[in-house]
Subunit: 365 residues, 2 copies
């Protein structure tokens, strides 16, 4: 893909087509960068035989949502740019870091319908007939893979070709994002371990983990690379916070009610994991006394079989929490689009942001 | 501590006293930086109540060996400098990342005679009476703490105040160090899982993990910050590779024969962990046929009790492997000191490098 004076990606089609071209370009940048780093570390080394295949492949499976937001942030203030696209793409490697390690911590065997990284490494250990626990090995190897993604993300950003003064504006956003990501995951673990966190505690984690990390920070980061402090940056920040929260509400609804064929995860995985997600906590908060007793009883079970899951889903639905969350999602998306109206953002990017908001919140996987 | 035209640290005493002042200054910089970052992430948040105490404390317990080498690398080519000292100190946070996660992967309950980070987090979980496995929680929280150290190390380096052209010379060394660290740990896990790796495979991991990471890369990194490609850098690289290997040989000897009161780890921890360390692999390689059968038998045991450990130590000693490793250590240190002789390195730094080589290889903990 060559940069042209017209822009990096042909602006032929509407926002949807443009986003598709951008995400393809991100995929090539990200998987190419990781493949080079893997060659440096693992080429010709037996112990790297799986990593050298699995890590670039893991990158290629992504949705590139965060790079898209970052690049849109840039394009709200500046013309398309190859270096900015590479800088934006670095966020996908940060996301790979989070996924690789989250799946270990949550013991999720599947990711996007395929074996999670730790599952792949454990299987490899078993196939080699090695000593010790294959599960432990898989978990450790996935944590280390996550570490490598974390390191390579920063390296990719630094080497993106974005000039120094622009990079200097981006670093505070980037640093905040990575620190919040790890600290937010810690808060998430604590919430899951507590009997039932409050709705406020859940909202706080959502704001830090998804609201900030998925939408707001990437947008602000991209816009900050492009331009100094500006009303555009503030408007994007507000849009990002709202769409990010709505994104997580949708994620939590899918974690309980999603179709496993589409989500690539087992039915009601969040319930099986006792995840104190927004829909569960809101259901408990909204429940009538008998419903609350029933929810509490089910949530306290050691093991939930399929009947118990069905029952739990029914009770959660009966509290009205899912409908209420749908309303919260709608309201946030509308407020988000209002926030960017009447700004200096080019109309093509306004349309793109509307498409992205819908894609984040009106999805089945 | 204020920078003066005379240098950051008073050059009053000999190399030993100077190293002590430098490591105190590193300690203040590192723990101060981490305390600030912890405040940003955790202040006033219940889920951060342990992290905000434990993370800066974890930093304060270090030996600051890698910052010392990096700063000595700088001082081989340039006068003392406050910004360079901060840049050098960033390597201690990289080391904290490695320790926090290695202890999870090795299931080491102790670190420097105190509870490892994951042990502290698990205990906290138990004290709060939370749901779920305290062990799993402790491990996840320690991995996340490691992630934060990894992020903060790079941030500390970037914000050290070392000017851009100097930093640009340091990044390739820094990047190589962090990638090798994670990739080397993966190689280490594979070696431990294999029945018995070859001596060459063990040497390869030692070179990448310790030879490079503990001495060589920090020295080269510090020297590269100070100066472009130069004979000094090459000489320090050679010294570093040799002292680093010798450092790891000593570490492996202590892992089998060390005094637990001094090492802060249980007796023969490496044997209990079935660690394919240099002394074990060399013992098997040097063993006569009956000794090898005995070693193999013991190493294949599911559980090693104290008698078995004593027996195993005796057999390893009888192969002559420990004596041979002592010789290898001596030889490497002598070659290392030869490598830096007849260079442009100031005599005060030559003395300091001799003291550091001894400190790395002639130690009981």
């Amino acid at each position: 893909m060559a940069a042209t004076t017209e822009g990096v990606v042909p602006a032929s089609t509407g926002p949807g087509g443009w986003l598709t071209s951008v995400s393809h370009a991100c995929l090539e940048h990200a998987s190419g960068f990781v493949a080079e780093r893997c060659d440096e570390q693992f080429l010709g080394r037996g112990e790297g035989a799986l990593a050298i295949e699995a890590l670039p492949e893991f990158v290629r499976e992504g949705k590139f949502l965060r790079p898209l937001f970052a690049y849109v942030g840039w394009c709200c203030a500046r013309p398309e740019d190859e270096a900015a696209l590479r800088a934006a793409t670095s966020l996908e490697l940060l996301h790979c870091f989070a996924l690789a390690q989250d799946d270990v911590m949550d013991r999720s065997a599947l990711r996007r319908g395929r074996p999670a990284l730790h599952t792949q490494f454990a299987r490899w250990h078993r196939d080699q007939g090695w000593n010790g626990s294959a599960t432990r090995f898989g978990e450790s190897a996935a944590v280390l893979s996550g570490d490598l993604f974390l390191v390579w993300s920063e390296q990719m950003l630094r080497e993106s070709g974005v000039p120094e003064p622009a990079l200097a504006r981006g670093w505070p956003h980037y640093d905040a994002m990575r620190s919040e990501l790890a600290a937010g995951q810690l808060a998430d673990l604590v919430n899951d371990a507590r009997s039932l966190p409050s709705w406020d505690a859940v909202l706080d984690v959502i704001r830090r983990k998804s609201g900030n990390y998925t939408v707001r920070r990437p947008l602000e980061f991209g816009a900050a690379l492009a331009v100094g402090d500006a009303p555009v940056l503030r408007a994007l920040g507000e849009y990002g916070g709202l769409v990010g929260e709505a994104f997580q509400f949708r994620d939590d609804l899918l974690g309980v009610f999603g179709d496993p064929d589409l989500t690539g995860k087992p039915v009601s995985q969040d319930l099986r994991d006792r995840k104190a997600s927004s829909v569960v906590v809101l259901a408990v908060a909204m429940a009538e006394a008998p419903q609350r007793r029933e929810l509490q009883l089910l949530l306290d079970e050691e093991f939930l079989d399929d009947d118990a899951i069905t029952c739990l889903r029914g009770t959660i639905a009966a509290t009205g929490a899912p409908d209420q969350l749908e309303k919260l999602i709608d309201r946030r998306v509308r407020k988000a689009l209002d926030a960017i109206d009447d700004t200096a953002i080019p109309s093509r990017m306004l349309e793109t942001l509307a498409v992205l908001a819908a894609r984040c919140t009106d999805r089945v996987r």
